[in-house]
Amino acid sequence: MVPGETAVISGFTDDDISVKLLEMGFLPGTAVRFNFTAPFGDPVCVSVSGYDLSLRLDEASTISILN
């Protein structure tokens, strides 16, 4: 994804981290927008369920999206 793009969450590739992501509102079927990245490309800022979150790249990469 590139900054500004929006996608729909389809699932997670990592069980361990998925419970935390779910809790924060990353639900399968909801839209997530990639806002911008930190200066070194990591972490990234995304909007989901009506608020903005910071995620590390390796955390963000466990989220599968539908295009």
Partner: protein, 703 residues
């Protein structure tokens, strides 16, 4: 006032305005303590709900759900499931951010399942209105079967309404969201019956996270864990399913009650600010400018009140001498205890200023951007974006800094942060630095602009910082922990700080410092006073006579005589003897026994160095830096006949004080935070070795 006090807990996610509400409800009537058994700050306060009812308000750490991610958050699940516990609330206020209800309601649905009488406080209604959102409150109340209050905790709108709702009995919601499935039902029934629990969900929580519920006896925790394991109760799988189910319920609910949803337009300003503040160049430039401002204020502005405190304490000590009759007890009070208390109070201005800044940065939402900016860089060194705040606080005082590491979820990251924070040059090093730098560095200007002394001083701060960063890097490879590091964090919308919250924060942190560190500092300064004032009785008693007969030809004034006697006494005291024993060890660093004494007395707290040096060179009771400087300059090494304080020995001492632990209270706090002596002792050993080797190499190189 009612005899039995109501207990009301405030719960909600971080950034929902919980502390604003807490401050509104309790005013200055709050106190900070610890939850029993764990080192999590417990903020409680009293609130008069109406004429007849007073309530104890408990502010719980901010959480998204009952499942904890940080140390602080563990308390929340515990408070809500321990029905016999001292903090089990009679009522709960769930503080929700009205602009972002969805995430706030997750915890609410869990509380409803625990059958806790709960009030939903919709905070930030002003922002919600601005965003164009409109909620059908009556329907929300009906759907949840929970009373709802509209609130603006910043200006107090809705507080009276909330109080009046809380002053009458509330029943728990009749709705339950959680339903056990066929597989887990028998397990839940068994646990529920065994422990006599009121809800299925509570039993389910026991199964989910018995290890976090410390109120259960250890045997029970192990029993539940084994029981869950034998019966294939996979906590993660259930937790995921539970969260999805709850959000389905919440989404359904929101579809019914949200009449008009918000447009994101109101966040536009915040996004624009982010474009600058997280910019790859400007972001760092602004961050360092802010750091510089904080730095500047800690050292320049704090100096005025600190000087004032210093002179006041010295005067008080003298005055007490005049008032009190002679005697060891009174001397202990005027020369041990009073300056000991002064040694604590003197740090208050710096700590207050530092926390004023930190709390403003947190209130505005900037702090999470700092974490965002620094995470990648810090991770390279085994730290974490959230280590930035503790490390910055370390410039004022390591004690609150180490307490601030609790927000770091990952144990390894947190441990490394705790371990290296004391290497950041704290304010107690400053008096030592100033006097030594003034002594060995000429007061000239580089290019007619930069003051050499200032540059060297900054250099030592940088040295401490580099030592911290590279020690962290070393530890990253040494500590093997199988725990993944997470950094999922909300970036709240920017807003103006609420000044009363800043004020409360300053009071809270200062109090924590005074009472946590103060106890140790005071105790140690009394011990050191005794060590430095008493020695073998016959030598001490003869001190006056010995000095008099040695100096009979010198025609000293009475003051000079008294100073000479004080120096003689210190030299022969137990502390003095310790200093002399140390001499062979510290000689390679360029120190003599006199400096040895100062090292011993400043072991517990660095700033004691200056006072000891003043006494030992018999400058007596002046705390006047120029005087001390003059005296030290003329000090001669008896073996070589050259000045004692050369560039080499001065830098060696500076390096020593940059690295050495020399702070008993920090050790005490580290012990408390890491729950044992292992880490503080390792830290003491590591820092002392680093200090010794650093000072040794500098001295040997420059000699």
């Amino acid at each position: 006032m009612a005899a039995a006090k109501l207990k009301i807990a405030l719960a909600g996610k971080p950034n929902s305005g919980k502390s604003s509400l807490f401050n509104q409800l309790t005013g200055l009537n709050q106190k900070i303590g610890n939850f029993p058994g764990v080192t999590v700050d417990k903020r409680t306060g009293f609130c008069q709900l109406d004429e007849a009812t007073a309530a104890e308000i408990i502010d719980l750490p901010g959480t998204y759900s009952l499942y904890p991610r940080t140390l602080d958050e563990k308390v929340v699940a515990e408070v809500f499931t321990d029905q016999k516990g001292a903090f089990y609330p009679d009522k709960v206020v769930l503080v929700a951010d009205a602009t972002n209800l969805k995430n706030c309601l997750l915890l609410l649905t869990q509380l409803m399942d625990l059958q806790l009488p709960t009030v939903l406080a919709l905070n930030m209604v002003d922002l919600a209105a601005k965003s164009g959102q409109s909620i059908d409150i009556n329907n929300l109340e009906k759907q949840l079967d929970v009373p709802v209050v509209m609130l603006n905790a910043r200006n107090g709108t809705g507080i009276e309404k909330l109080k009046s709702i809380l002053s009458v009995p509330i029943r728990a919601s009749s709705k339950t969201i959680y339903k056990s499935d066929d597989e887990s039902k028998p397990l839940i029934d068994k646990i529920r019956n065994k422990y006599g629990l009121t809800s299925d969900y509570e039993a389910y929580q026991f199964l989910q996270q018995a290890e976090n519920l410390l109120f259960l006896p250890k045997a029970d925790r192990e029993f539940i864990r084994d029981f869950a394991k034998q019966n294939n109760f996979f906590a993660h799988k259930y937790q995921g399913a539970e969260t999805i189910m709850r959000y389905e319920f919440i989404q359904d609910l929101l579809n019914k009650v949200i009449l008009r949803s918000s447009n994101e337009g109101w966040k536009k300003i915040s996004y624009d600010i982010d474009k600058v503040l997280t910019h790859k160049i400007w972001g760092y430039v602004i961050f360092f400018l802010i750091l510089f401002l904080i730095f500047q204020s800690i050292f320049a502005w704090a100096q005025i009140p600190m000087d004032f405190i210093d002179t006041t304490i010295a005067q008080l000590s003298h005055k007490l001498d005049d008032i009190f009759p002679q005697g060891p007890f009174f001397e202990l009070v005027s020369h041990g205890i009073v300056p000991g208390i002064g040694g604590i109070v003197i740090f208050i201005p710096q700590i207050a200023i530092l926390f004023a800044f930190i709390s403003i940065l947190e209130e505005t939402g900037y702090m999470s951007r700092v974490v965002f900016l620094m995470d990648k860089i810090m991770r390279k060194f085994g730290l974490n974006g959230k280590s930035v705040v503790p490390l910055m606080s370390g410039w004022a005082c390591a004690i609150p800094a180490i307490m601030a590491t609790r927000t770091i979820e990952n144990w390894k990251d947190r441990l490394i942060t705790i371990f290296v924070t004391p290497l950041m040059s704290c304010s107690a090093r400053l008096p030592v630095f100033t006097i030594l730098v003034a002594l060995i560095i000429p007061d000239d200007k580089l290019l007619g602009f930069f003051n050499y002394q200032g540059l060297v001083l900054m250099g030592f701060y940088l040295l401490g910082f580099l030592a911290a960063i590279f020690s962290a890097l070393g530890m990253k490879f040494l500590i093997k922990v199988k725990e993944r590091s997470y950094m999922i964090m909300e970036l709240p919308t920017y807003r103006m700080p609420k000044w009363s919250n800043v004020g409360f924060q300053i009071i809270e942190k200062t109090k924590a410092f005074v009472f946590e560190a103060g106890k140790t500092i005071l105790a140690i300064s009394i011990i050191l006073y005794v060590l430095a004032s008493y020695g073998p009785i016959d030598i001490m008693n003869a001190a006056k006579e010995t000095v008099r007969s040695n100096t009979i030809t010198q025609n000293l004034t009475e003051q000079e005589m008294a100073d000479k006697i004080a120096a003689y006494k210190l030299e022969h005291s137990y502390a003095g003897q310790l200093g002399k024993t140390l001499e062979p060890l510290i000689k390679p660093l360029g120190y003599d026994w006199k400096i040895g004494i100062a090292l011993v007395t400043s072991f517990a707290a660095r700033e004691v160095f200056v006072g000891t040096i003043a006494t030992i060179y018999s400058i007596g009771s002046t705390d006047d830096t120029p005087t001390i400087k003059q005296r030290l300059k003329s000090e001669v090494d008896p073996e070589t006949g050259l000045p004692r304080y050369t560039l080499a020995s001065g830098l060696s001492l500076l390096v020593f004080y940059t690295f050495a632990m020399q702070c008993m209270s920090t050790l005490a706090v580290v012990k408390r935070e890491t729950k044992g002596w292992k880490w503080p002792l390792l830290q003491l050993g590591y820092m002392t070795t680093l200090a010794y080797l650093g000072a040794l190499s500098i001295y040997q190189l420059l000699k």
